[in-house]
């Protein structure tokens, strides 16, 4: 977990801003250009999100009247109250809790089973280890769509269509978490585990009492990444969930757009509700999320 910090600090010393190339533009001009570029880019990335928020607080009339305004003339929260009404045809509050339940259950399941499997693959010797690890890792690059049709039929056989089980269990078979945690466990110093072994502790005790506490940052990162990808999953829930009260937020947003084609404040309010939790998680866990993405490239 500390590696990204150190690399970031190292890069700070390689400042390329304001170091004039021979014969290039002056330091001040470069600096100005740099900040202008950063400002324009920041606006491009932030403005759409502000527009989403602003529109969600407008009345339907104001949102579709030119000229458009960034600040609503009269703050109108009726879109939110309409969406949060439990009896509406678009029960966003239900979708919110469906997404929350599926996301939390999925990420808890992933962390539990992946930690166990990754520890066995990192620290134990047993027959078939290489085959199992090779088989599991080999599936990382198999595109997800290959599994859609057969998993749809398996989920149907299990009676899980139109239930949250279809969102909680199948994606927990993914190899990423096992690979990710195995790398982390391999990097842990063995001395502690060996000391416990000499004291007569069994594998389970060592795993539970020694390894898991040490692995807390990695487990948290995996939990966050799993939650985000489950929360944002779109194609699968669109097709395995049917009943309006069983949808998750992304699938529901698609329906909302179909049902209220021009009521943009309503759709934007739904989008804001779907965005706020992930943005909060992102702000809280930004360092871990960015670090795990950054690492993926160096491994490749």
């Amino acid at each position: 977990m500390s590696t990204p910090v150190t690399t970031a600090q190292r890069a700070d010393t390689s400042a390329s801003v304001g170091t004039p190339a021979p014969g290039g533009p002056s330091r001040a001009a470069r600096r100005a250009l740099f900040w202008i570029a950063m400002a324009i880019l920041a606006v491009i990335f932030i403005a759409p999100l502000l527009w989403m928020l602003s529109t969600s607080l407008k009345g339907e009339q104001e949102a579709t009247t030119l000229p458009l305004t960034w600040v609503p003339k009269s703050f109108d929260t009726s879109s939110y109250s309409k969406l949060l009404d439990v009896n509406s045809a678009t029960p966003v509050l239900r979708w919110f809790f469906n997404s929350l339940i599926a996301g939390v259950a999925n990420s808890v399941l992933i962390v539990c089973i992946d930690a166990l499997a990754a520890y066995a693959l990192a620290r134990m010797d047993f027959r078939g280890k290489k085959t199992i690890f090779g088989g599991v890792v080999g599936t990382i690059f198999v595109p997800a769509f290959v599994f859609f049709v057969p998993n749809f039929l398996i989920v149907y056989q299990l009676g899980w269509l139109d239930t949250l089980w279809a969102l909680i269990v199948p994606s927990a078979g993914g190899a990423f978490g096992v690979f990710f945690l195995r790398q982390f466990f391999i990097g842990l110093p063995r001395e502690l585990e060996e000391a416990c072994e000499l004291d007569g502790a069994n594998q389970w005790t060592i795993f539970w009492r020694v390894v898991l506490p040490l692995a807390r940052p990695a487990l948290a990162t995996l939990a966050v990444l799993s939650f985000l990808s489950n929360w944002n999953d779109f194609l699968w829930p669109v097709y395995v969930l049917f009943s309006p009260q069983n949808l998750t937020l992304p699938a529901g947003l698609g329906n909302l757009q179909g049902a209220a084609t021009t009521n943009y404040p309503l759709i934007m309010a739904g989008a804001v509700i779907a965005s706020v939790p992930v943005l909060i998680i992102f702000v809280a866990a930004q360092r871990q999320i960015v670090a795990s993405v950054a690492r993926s490239g160096l491994k490749g």
Partner: protein, 319 residues
């Protein structure tokens, strides 16, 4: 794996002798590793390993779970897909073409723009973490939010994009979501906005892995910024570029939500991607046999493309 072996060699001699008793004390019960692996393997086999094979089995049948019988048809689904005039061949290859157009149009932007951003971020300046977070933020939102947001912003009459274009003097309302080539421009632009941060972060890590001494030595030798980029940055990034290229092609070929939400395949079915068609046939019309055959064809093509990537990039890297 190597660490496991070397660490064992450091153990006390009694373990190396491997008397049955000490071996048991050292490793615990033989079944323990399988108990640890069990829960994951169960889910992995049930929803990854078995489906990968089961899907192929389905593709050899005229499979539809709404029908009482699922007759074996051998490779007929595949043959149909390669025979002009059959029910799905035209639509399928049309959707493959849409995926191809999107991939070819989006990958260059998704390779170059994030690299530019990463190079801007690869410097010490106040607010660096903030800007990095801003560029990455759209990626955590998910395609549903980004899709409905862009659908709204690109609305021809009341969308904010045309509103500002009008202010700049472009009077004809551009049909961003209903006409070509605008529909492609929209889909590519929103994808770049949405996923740029992801590639930029990977590039940034790669840039920070390039030793600073190389740049310093080059500067001493009087290399220009372009020469430094061309002869130090690009070669240094080679493995990262290969990785980014491979996953970007895979992600672009997996495009679904953008078309589904923003253009709904319009105009006509021109922006209906392969994944949209596979999902429609297999998960919407319940013709699973045909849909499974289509997904294996697409997967096969993607594997070939990935292998070509590695072929093109690897030799030079070793040289």
């Amino acid at each position: 794996m190597a660490t496991t072996i070397s660490a064992e060699a450091d153990l006390a001699p009694e373990v190396l002798v491997k008397s049955p008793a000490s071996a048991r004390r050292r490793r615990g019960w033989r079944g323990t590793p399988y108990l640890f692996l069990g829960p994951f393997l169960l889910v992995f086999l049930g929803f990854v390993a078995v489906p990968a094979v089961y899907g192929f089995w389905i593709s050899l049948h005229d499979y539809s779970f709404t029908l009482p019988l699922q007759p074996w048809v051998g490779f007929q689904n595949y043959i149909d897909l390669f025979t002009a005039g059959t029910r799905d061949a035209g639509d399928f290859w049309h959707s493959m073409e849409a995926t191809g157009i999107f991939t070819v149009a989006s990958v260059p932007f998704l390779m170059v723009c994030p690299l530019g951003i990463a190079m801007l971020l690869n410097a010490a300046f106040p607010g660096r973490t903030f800007f990095r977070a801003v560029f990455f933020a759209p990626y955590v939102l998910g395609v549903a939010v980004v899709g409905v947001l862009f659908r709204f912003m690109l609305d021809p009459t009341i969308g904010i994009v045309n509103f500002y274009l009008h202010k700049l003097g472009i009077d004809s309302a551009i049909p961003w979501t209903t006409q070509l080539p605008w529909a492609w421009v929209s889909l590519v632009a929103m994808t770049v906005w949405w996923t740029l941060g992801f590639n930029a972060i990977i590039y940034l890590a790669g840039l920070q892995d390039i030793p600073i001494d190389l740049y310093e030595a080059a500067r001493v030798d009087g290399a220009s910024r372009w020469q430094q980029f061309r002869f130090i940055t690009l070669p240094g990034l080679r493995p990262v570029l290969l990785f980014v290229l491979t996953i970007t092609i895979l992600n672009s070929a997996n495009m679904f939500g953008q078309s589904y939400l923003v253009t709904q395949g319009a105009p006509g079915q021109s922006t209906r991607t392969a994944l949209m068609y596979i999902a429609q046939v297999g998960l919407g019309e319940y013709r699973q046999g045909m849909a499974a055959a289509m997904s294996y064809i697409l997967a096969f093509i993607l594997i070939i493309i990935s292998l070509i990537n590695f072929r093109v990039f690897r030799p030079a890297q070793e040289a």
